[in-house]
């Protein structure tokens, strides 16, 4: 132990002792908390909080901030509790050569519980990242609120949520769900831009099974209530599912590579060997002759993008709408596409929510958007109407209208009714619309149109079935094609499927410097934000 030396004005320690004291404090903190939990982690193959940071940052090299931060609670034995780093390690370092801020909750340190100063550390990390224009990666693995601290814990949640909102749209925020995250705390990963969940160890929910049982009498396991199926499949809150800690972190790095570090930068362009004007002959045969037969839109995506590489988000949720990132000529783009293989590729409430938030993320971070359209429309019927398809579907319209990034629409087949603008067309803001010869761009399908316009004629006809068929055919021949739209200039050109990649790349070249802000164009006047139907 360091020895105090006396002098008339007080006491002092030698430098040697002071330096040793620092080293001892650092060692004690970096050893982390409960050895039993650390050992259990080692056995099950899970990484601990510091190993996760080492795995995230290039060469395992990170700079920690706030290592010595300590709570100030004295009640319920907290004055004697040892909580290294307050249960969360905040750090910055480089990820694939780019600066990133991260915080990693430490389950071995008082179960990574969230108290006043734990919250302060996380809030500060986000504020720090926002001010410096750096992405944030948060690693969640926490026993929840530290109830010992009462009101102070509660207040810290508010600081965190508010800071996340202030940073939203300024820097990309990625949440990694590596352990439990239950209770009000779960709003924290939810409020970030993307959430990646570890299949067997990540749990999230507004309340865990014990709470659910006592409060509302429902009996359900933690796995079922809060596991991967709950969020990647049912609730649509887990954007990417990964197998274990390393896989989660790898996927976070992969995702981050599409994003700029902040909203003032363009997304990083990389070199590719894939020629920008490559003809994709395999696309010419992909759309079936019969309009009621499905085809796999994911094939179209992987054929047109660079090197067949597509990073899908929310791939297990509302699968009739595909969202994800890819590159064209090395430029990151967001892709929004209908999947006719699933639920006719229509837009329903979940698809609209999924699509609109994706579009808005891309717009916030200057990532151009490309749509591939084969959509019969928004879902109809009492079930959809009563659940509010109109207000949910409106999110897509708001998202497209508000978007200022390059917007390119490829109409592959059906583009009917509300889905025409719901999936991006000129009237809602597209810069370019190209249609395949297989496109059917009109207000409704021929059968619907005929049954409305010619209802009386059909009813009163001597041979109603024949009249109906004749009128459907007539309507179809006139309107169910890409040329009426092209004649008016609503579609810029009708292109062969194999030219799609070439046209998208040319459009992106031209739109490289598209820049729309209040003050730069007459239709963007100052306002706080649009009143999107949330």
């Amino acid at each position: 132990m360091a020895e105090w030396h006396e002098y008339p004005g007080g006491v002092y320690k030698t430098k040697e002792d002071l330096y040793r004291e620092l080293k001892e404090r650092q060692e004690k903190i970096t050893q982390m908390g409960d050895p039993k939990i650390l050992e259990k982690r080692r056995q099950t193959g899970q990484l601990n909080a510091r190993e996760r940071l080492e795995y995230l940052f290039d060469g395992g090299d990170y700079t920690e901030i706030g290592m010595h931060i300590k709570h100030r609670t004295v009640h319920f034995g907290m004055d004697k509790a040892w909580v290294p780093a307050e249960g969360v390690i905040t750090a910055f370092g480089k990820v694939n050569g780019r600066w990133v801020v991260s915080f990693s909750e430490d389950f071995s340190s008082m179960a990574g519980t969230f108290g006043e100063y734990h919250g302060k550390k996380e809030t500060y990390a986000i504020q720090f990242a926002m001010e410096k224009g750096l992405p944030v990666i948060g690693m969640n693995d926490s026993g929840g609120a530290r109830l010992h601290e009462g009101m102070d814990t509660l207040e810290a949640y508010g600081w965190l949520f508010r800071m996340q909102d202030l940073a939203s749209g300024v820097i990309p925020q990625i949440a990694l769900l590596l352990g439990p995250c239950l209770g009000g705390q779960a709003y924290h990963p939810i409020m970030q831009d993307f959430l990646i969940q570890a299949r067997n160890t990540g749990f999230m929910g507004i309340a865990g099974p014990a709470f659910v049982k006592t409060q509302i009498g429902e009996e359900i396991s933690l796995e079922e209530l809060s596991g991967w199926k709950a969020h990647a499949v049912k609730s649509g809150q887990t954007h990417v599912l990964a197998e274990d800690d390393k896989d989660v972190i790898n996927k976070a790095k992969e995702l981050l590579a599409f994003f700029p570090s902040n909203n003032r930068e363009k997304p990083p362009r990389i070199k590719t060997e894939d020629p920008p004007d490559r003809l994709a002959k395999e696309l010419d045969g992909i759309v079936p002759d019969e309009p009621f037969k499905p085809f796999d839109m994911k094939k179209v995506i992987t054929v047109v993008v660079d090197d067949g590489y597509f990073f899908e988000t929310l791939g297990l949720y509302a699968r009739h709408l595909i969202t994800g990132f890819a590159r064209f000529n090395g430029r990151p783009v967001g892709i929004v596409a209908n999947q006719p293989m699933q639920a006719a590729g229509m837009l329903d409430i979940n698809a609209s929510d999924k699509g609109a938030r994706f579009i808005r993320f891309c717009d916030l971070f200057n990532i151009p958007l490309v749509t591939l359209v084969d959509c019969p429309g928004y879902i109809i019927g009492s079930q959809a109407d009563w659940a509010g398809i109109l207000r949910h579907g409106a999110k897509m319209l708001y998202a497209w209208s508000d978007a200022t990034v390059p917007l390119i629409s490829i109409i592959v087949r059906k583009s009917y009714a509300g889905a025409h603008y719901g999936m991006l067309d000129k009237s809602i803001g597209a810069d370019f619309v190209f249609a395949w010869p297989t496109a059917r761009i009109t207000i409704v399908g021929a059968d619907t149109a005929a049954s409305v316009i010619f209802a009386r004629e059909i009813r009163e006809s001597e041979n109603p079935e024949e009249t109906r068929r004749k009128r459907i055919r007539e309507y179809s021949e006139i309107y169910e094609n890409p040329y009426v739209s092209a004649e008016r200039g609503y579609t810029d050109d009708v292109i062969m499927p194999h030219d799609t990649r070439k046209y998208i790349n040319q459009a992106l070249n031209l739109l490289e410097n598209k820049f729309v802000t209040p003050g730069t164009c007459p239709w963007k006047v100052w306002r706080k934000y649009s009143n999107i139907n949330l």
Binding site: A207, F211, L222, F292, P294, P340, M346, P376, Q383
Partner: protein
């Protein structure tokens, strides 16, 4: 907010069910055109369970798991709503 005990539990509980069930639900309102399976049939992942006609499309409903068909809840010609059970597969 959670109790610590509960959170610790998650690491201890490893559920191993010998038989699991997958419920295949109607993805969108429409009319059942054709049902391809009967209770007791074996199905492979990706097999077509039925076709639902809706929104101008013939929508193939595929099983996401291989197993035995336990129940079939729809018949051809029936109008179904999103979320209704089509079939239950045991695997």
């Amino acid at each position: 907010m959670e109790s610590l005990e509960e959170v610790f539990q998650y690491q201890l509980v490893i559920r191993r069910q010998t038989v699991a069930q997958e419920t295949i639900e109607v993805p969108l309102v429409g009319k059942v055109l054709k049902v391809n399976v009967n209770p007791g049939d074996r199905v492979k992942e990706g097999d077509e369970i039925c076709i639902i006609e809706s929104m101008k499309m013939e929508n193939s409903i595929l099983t996401p798991v291989s197993g035995a068909v336990k129940e079939v809840k729809v018949t051809s010609g029936q109008v179904v709503k999103a979320g209704e059970t089509i079939a239950v597969i045991e695997y």
